[in-house]
């Protein structure tokens, strides 16, 4: 409860939360405001924003409503951000926890694998995965998750290394707990706060990775995503720059919101580090 109070004491964290709630509200209300398919042709192509009250944010080069795509795109970005982050954190925690807890050869093997992933630029790895497995929404989401786990794994491992020899873990062992109980029941809850905070970084990066893929037209073309819209706008960038700029701003705001929330969580969960 103290952590909640500390969170709301920071104006930046509250602003981030409000922005994030707006994005979530857009995602939720998309079907209500724009009952039609956002990818259906709606009018003349390349209508400038605010020039036609039917298309508040204008239309893109094939005459689709940009506002509708922004609203539906919020769903895709949040979905990819959320699910990919969950996958990355889950793999990261499992790998980090076992490596940190068992040490020795388990640690060596798992960390060498982690390093192998880390030495490849994750966008290149992502391109390879998408090239091999195709670019449906599901494969893109999983691929983004799969390239993002090494950092949370290292973080979890570091926490486990410092926690595994604490007296309360030894006490658990003398009580006769199994290793699995010690890892997930005793150590993990104490190791979690920094990992949760880091999840916000993973989420922001995941959203950006998807947009980057879409910009190269490698993301799922059958869904309305912000990245797809930016990719489309590329062709008309010099004249009708708004086609790319509007989804760009949406991505900027979402990533900003997520990182502000993450920073706020960090200050709230680790109050002693604040102000340093």
């Amino acid at each position: 409860m103290d952590a909640v109070k500390r969170y709301f004491r920071s104006p930046a964290a509250v602003a981030g939360l409000i922005l994030l709630l707006i994005v979530i509200a857009m995602a939720v209300s998309a079907g209500w405001f724009y009952p039609r398919d956002p990818l259906a042709l709606a009018g003349r192509p390349l209508v400038w924003p605010f020039s036609n009250p039917r298309f508040l944010l204008g239309t893109d080069n094939s005459g689709r409503d940009i506002a509708a795509q922004i609203f539906y795109g919020a769903r895709i970005s949040l979905l990819i951000g959320g699910v990919a982050t969950a996958i990355a954190i889950l793999i990261g925690i499992l790998v980090g926890a076992f490596a940190g807890y068992y040490g020795g050869w388990v640690d060596n093997v798992l960390m060498r694998i982690t390093e192998a992933f880390q030495t490849l630029p994750n966008f290149v790895l992502l391109l390879v995965l998408v090239a091999v497995f195709g670019s449906t929404l599901t494969t893109v989401t999983i691929a983004v998750g799969v390239v993002s786990w090494p950092a949370p794994a290292r973080l979890t491992r570091a926490e486990f290394l410092s926690l595994r020899n604490r007296e309360f873990v030894q006490a658990g062992r003398t009580l006769g707990m199994k290793n699995i109980q010690l890892i997930f029941g005793e150590i993990l809850p104490n190791a979690l706060p920094p990992v949760i905070v880091y999840a916000s970084v993973v989420m922001a990066v995941a959203i950006l990775l998807e947009s980057a893929l879409a910009f190269l037209r490698l993301s799922d073309p059958n869904v309305a995503s912000w990245g797809n819209l930016i990719g489309l706008g590329r062709d008309v960038l010099r004249v009708q720059w708004y086609v790319s700029a509007i989804p760009g701003i949406a991505i900027l705001v979402t990533v900003l919101a997520v990182s502000l929330v993450g920073q706020g969580l960090n200050d709230a969960l680790n109050p002693r580090l604040k102000g340093r």
Partner: protein, 543 residues
């Protein structure tokens, strides 16, 4: 104190704590004087404000903590009103300070000589060669063996005692008028503590420095103090000469503190059972670290061929300094560490060679209490859960285990209604009771207690020891009690084993070991107890 000049005087000094702290003021109306050539001991338990006072004098208070009112007079000026630049002049040159933990007070990346030389280069304009000679002279002064080598050493290359000597050398570099020593010997072993106390005493007499010596230990007070100030909750409750305060304490709190100091003499021996519940035979444990393919590996024998017996219902004390292997032995007994050789027979089965999975299932027979009441409880579990965990792991239903846990709470002297609170809401002594309840929840035959009272204040220490003695009688527990403090061992143990460098050098009945020590190391340990005279005298007074 006539004829002596007053070096430092505090005049109704009050220090305010930030809102939300457990009290409004860290110090309230504290007035005291220190004259040249005297050692003033400031005694109090944790939270009494004694360290806060030292920091207030140095103006090194944390940001949110402010000096409310009062004056700190040093050399004719008020330090509370001094500008920051002037305070920098005073720190180090006028008033120097030494800290509890020399390892963290020294910069690990610079040599000892460098760090002492820094004092001169900051405050004086001496030449490099001159500084160098002074540094070596200082290191010789604090009796570090081979000053030239020590000056080139990094902090981790010296022992704890040598590091503290280096800290003292640094503090005394500029001949300060006042030396503030904040628990300088608390982190050291008894024998080293005795040497450092003697060193501080000698240097103080030679240089006529005034010393403010902060401690929680009345033994240290008896050893070193000229005058004593007793603090409680940020207020001075009593001050006077050392002999007055120690032998004729006026204030109830002082009396209580002195009574809580464990007397050195063992209580009358209890009858011991003839059969042994725990037989340790030739247990060894060697640590091997580092090394690739056998090159550069370091081999440290932590426990060497230890054989001990614990009669049913008795308490065996294992005493030794840091690095003596006593904690490793304790962890071997509960199998947190696998011993390399030897047998540990508990009720007929050999604990040392049992497979891990069986140890896990049988673990309720032998339980452990840990040293640090803050680190040994999982901060994310409620007290009742912590106590109930053991039985739940071994198959008791949750509701039943929680109900049993609440009963255990009253057994160890905790309020059962506090069972739903988290560990950080309890005090150190209460947390240690939770740790004890957790160990007792499995109804063990043998309890291994690793320094269970070392992290506690004396008065709390006395309570926990009393509780342990009561439980032992009521539940028929057999206890292995690990401690570095001979006074604590004398309180509770029937049998005592003295360990040094991994081996047991002497063992026998507590009364015999303490009354008539045979091994020179045991004798040295007993001689090193601070205020040895006082400890024995005070014993006779109390009875």
């Amino acid at each position: 104190m006539s004829g002596k000049e007053t070096i430092l005087s505090l005049d109704r000094l009050s220090v305010r704590l930030p809102r939300g702290a457990d009290r409004t003021h860290a110090l309230r109306d504290v007035s005291l004087e220190i004259a040249s050539n005297e050692i003033l001991c400031v005694v109090g338990e944790s939270g009494s404000g004694k360290s806060m006072m030292a920091n207030a004098v140095m103006r090194l208070l944390p940001n949110e903590v402010t000096i409310d009112s009062g004056r700190v007079m040093f050399e004719g000026r008020d330090l509370c009103a001094a500008p920051v630049a002037e305070m920098r002049e005073v720190r180090g040159a006028g008033i120097a300070m030494i800290f509890q933990e020399p390892m963290t007070a020294l910069n690990p990346l610079r040599t000892i000589g460098d760090q002492i030389a820094e004092m001169f280069s900051i405050h004086t304009g001496l030449s490099k060669a001159e500084i160098n000679t002074r540094v070596l002279a200082l290191l010789a002064d604090v009796r570090i063996p081979d000053p030239k080598v020590a000056a080139k050493a990094y902090p981790h290359e010296l022992s704890g005692g040598q590091r503290q000597r280096a800290m003292i050398a640094m503090a005394l570099a500029l001949d300060p008028k006042l030396l503030i020593a904040d628990e300088p010997t608390t982190a050291l072993d008894v024998t080293t503590q005795a040497q450092i106390l003697k060193l501080i005493r000698d240097l103080q007499q030679r240089r006529k420095t005034a010393v403010m010596f902060i401690t929680h230990d009345f033994g240290v007070v008896a050893e070193i103090a000229d005058r004593v100030v007793v603090m409680q909750h940020g207020v001075i409750v009593e001050q006077g000469t050392a002999s007055d305060v120690l032998h004729h304490p006026q204030h109830a709190y002082t009396k209580q503190l002195i009574a809580a100091v464990p007397p050195l003499k063992a209580p009358p021996p209890r009858a011991l059972a003839a059969d042994n519940i725990l037989t340790i035979t030739d247990v060894s444990k060697t640590y091997r670290t580092g090394g690739f393919l056998g090159r550069g590996a370091r081999v440290t024998p932590a426990v060497k061929n230890v054989s001990l017996n614990l009669p049913r219902g008795a308490t065996l004390g294992i005493v030794g300094e840091s690095g003596s292997g006593k904690s490793t032995l304790a962890r071997c007994i509960v199998r947190l560490i696998d011993p390399d050789a030897g047998s540990i027979v508990l009720d007929g089965s050999d604990w040392a060679k049992m497979p891990r999975e069986k140890v896990r299932r049988e673990t309720r027979h032998i339980q452990m209490v840990f040293q640090d009441p803050f680190a040994s409880l999982n901060p994310r579990r409620k007290a009742a859960e912590l106590v109930a965990q053991g039985p739940i792991v071994h198959g008791t239903r949750r509701a039943e285990a929680i109900a049993d846990a609440k009963e255990l709470f009253s057994l160890v002297g905790l309020d059962p209604s506090s069972a739903d609170r988290y560990p950080h809401e309890f005090s150190g002594g209460q947390r240690q009771r939770i740790g004890l309840a957790r160990a007792l929840a499995l109804k063990p035959d043998v309890l291994v207690a690793d320094e269970p009272v070392s992290a506690l204040d004396v008065s709390v220490q006395a309570q926990v020891l009393k509780l342990l003695a009561e439980l032992r009688a009521r539940l028929g527990l057999s206890i292995v009690f690990i401690t570095h403090d001979l006074r604590v061992a004398a309180q509770i143990c029937d049998l005592v084993a003295v360990m040094k460098d991994g081996a047991v050098v002497e063992h026998g009945l507590a009364g015999e070991v303490f009354g008539n020590p045979q091994h020179p190391y045991t004798q040295a340990l007993l001689d090193s107890i601070p205020g040895g005279e006082f400890a024995r005298e005070h014993d006779t007074e109390m009875v």
